[in-house]
Symmetry: none
Subunit: 216 residues, 4 copies
DNA sequence: CATGAATGAGTCTTCATTCAT
DNA sequence: GATGAATGAAGACTCATTCAT
């Protein structure tokens, strides 16, 4: 159940949940330090020593909380994804029964806002997306997002959504893709402010229309 | 001009182009080995030693062609992106003046086919997208793709595309995002075969319609 | 101020001064090992691995104290020069006001004694005089020696020294040159025991007389 | 006898003496390149490849003339020392029977002029003085210089030189020491132009006087 | 003979991890 | 528990030297 809670595969979960107050502070300090070092120095230079240093604790202390470096990194990504996922799940819950347009508008806004709240962090964490258990975490988060969005779409009043499951996935991939493009600098600066707008168009039109490619 | 040709930032470009036959063989062997090791072992274990070993040459030989590991990795990504970019550029060129629907259909098909031709390779190369000059290469490739697509859209007969530049970017980001989702296993298996279809819907509807969010 | 204390240019100074007892032992062991390996194997073979081995510690421990091989070597030379310089400075201080003959005699004796106290070490360190920051260290030591000697000469009772600054340098170069010749085996064995004597003659006559070349 | 001619110990002598014209050119080019690279890049970076490159030949060609890197370096030093030695020998020969003052003056001038003719080269070669057979070459050159100077001193008309052999060595060491100090930047700039003058005083007074330390 | 591609032993250096204090 | 010194495996990279062409 530990797995279920943190989304971390087997041996990648933190060693112990901090119970005392001092522990909690240290734990958080390490988490923050991890992201900072990751952002400022890159994955390769995000070493346990440097993280510990930045967190103001000893390496030994760090290993008190995480069994190894991968777990440390995975935890950073995990926390980020968990926050994002929860936010979206809550959002979708609240939008149940709302008109499609509002669903799309608010979902897009919420998603991007969550992703862009701390751009540095979000950007840095892409480094973990290829290794250290990142793929698994991302996959799981993806599933949860898909489910949440699909659940919301099912309640769409006019019932225009034929396959909510697929639609949920399509929306999630679209949003993730655009967020990544913006965060990694792969979108022209002038597009950045219109990203939300464009995503809405993309998604809204996709959902409300299915003429063309149905007869390919 | 070296930069212009390879898309590799100065210090990341290969050391020398092989002139003799033996050289060419070694050079290619190294390139192939790089991708294989990357795919099978991951970025961290894609060491110069292992690559050389797999290529059946000595480390020294490897360093005769690449000044350092990063250049080796960058070159692998570069070649991949160059192929993709050229393919799309050619495709867009040929589609000039075609009806919108055909444009979209063929662009999507070509893009995904190119990306999926060698899935293992494409998947492996995502590891380089965060470092080793990857971001620069990707950015440049992105610009070229955007331009190519925009150029094509400009010739759309019915003239429904208001802002081809933006549209080009949107399309590219969309396609890249979906390709990545599929390749990294972030799309449910059952969606995989419909990816092309869904992308077309997404893009075609986006292009042909702009009712909703124009009045937000 | 670190620079001022060790005479080592910024990036060549040791990493950290050992505070705990264990550290101090390791630190000293490394220093001694460096000189031994240097003496027995030569500069080229004075590798970090070999030094660590000889010191009975791991390479890692070595790198805890020195940022790189050059710093290790520089430190060895630095310590030697600092000792020499301090000794001479003290000597010159005590000889202030003494008659010229005694000044020369004792300075020469002290200098050579200091240099020859550990011939193996002194000999070995010549290898660092061309690189690894050696030239800078030597230059600085030279300046301090010159100053010390000049300061002493200024107090010569009979006031025969016209230009103490120049004389100080001349003396220092002379002494260094002869010490080197002896240590590197460039002086015939039979001269070795008379070196002090000869140096005194050279220097004393130089100082007390300046007839000839003043009318060249 | 090869040894006798080149002054190079056993396996450090060049592989073959170039007989053909083309060979001679290549041979010289390599020699010059060696010194240039040594001067500009330092001993460590004076690699066979770089030297060959600079000389405009292939590594293979270089190995045609020198059995290994050490021989290449030793040869550079050897040539330098041979030139110096010959010059001094000729000088001493011509000064036989001259008055002491002239002997000293011209010897000092000739020595320093020879050493300073190509400062860059002389400076660079100090790097070889600790290894690669350098010590042996220097020792041999020292002996020849000592002998030459002693031979000259023997013919001094007024017969004031008690022990020409020792005196010869003292003079040689003195001159070498000052030359080195100047070349390695260990003499204050303002002294540089007076070096000859100072050396003469040092040596002349040493030779003509032996009052003091004879009664220590 | 010259070339320069290939070799591979050997360097320096880093860093995850352990463990005596 | 916390500390941080020590470990040592592993990686990047160089370069003297050889040898097929």
């Amino acid at each position: 159940m530990h797995i279920a809670m943190t989304g971390l595969p087997n041996n990648l979960s933190p060693r112990k949940s901090p119970v005392q107050q001092r522990s909690q502070i240290t734990f958080d300090a390490i988490h923050i330090a991890t992201i900072q070092v990751l952002a400022h120095e890159g994955l390769d230079k995000c070493t346990t020593t440097r993280v510990a240093e930045r967190a103001g604790v000893s390496v030994g202390a760090l290993y008190q909380y995480y069994p190894h470096r991968s777990a440390l990194l995975a935890a950073a990504l995990s926390r980020h994804l968990t926050t994002l996922t929860s936010t979206i799940e809550r959002c979708c819950e609240q939008l149940k029964g709302a008109p499609l347009e509002r669903m799309v508008r608010e979902l897009v806004d919420t998603f991007l806002a969550a992703k862009f709240r701390n751009k540095m962090e979000a950007r840095a964490l892409y480094a973990i997306s290829v290794d250290h258990g990142g793929p698994l975490l991302i996959e799981e988060a993806g599933r949860r997002l898909d489910t949440a969005i699909a659940g919301m779409l099912t309640t769409e009043p006019e019932n225009v959504i034929q396959n909510p499951a697929i639609a949920g996935t399509i929306i999630r991939i679209t949003l993730s893709g655009f967020a990544r493009a913006v965060l990694t600098g792969n979108a022209p600066a002038e597009l950045e402010e219109h990203i939300g707008h464009q995503c809405m168009r993309l998604i809204y039109n996709y959902l409300s229309d299915n003429r063309m490619p149905s007869t390919p």
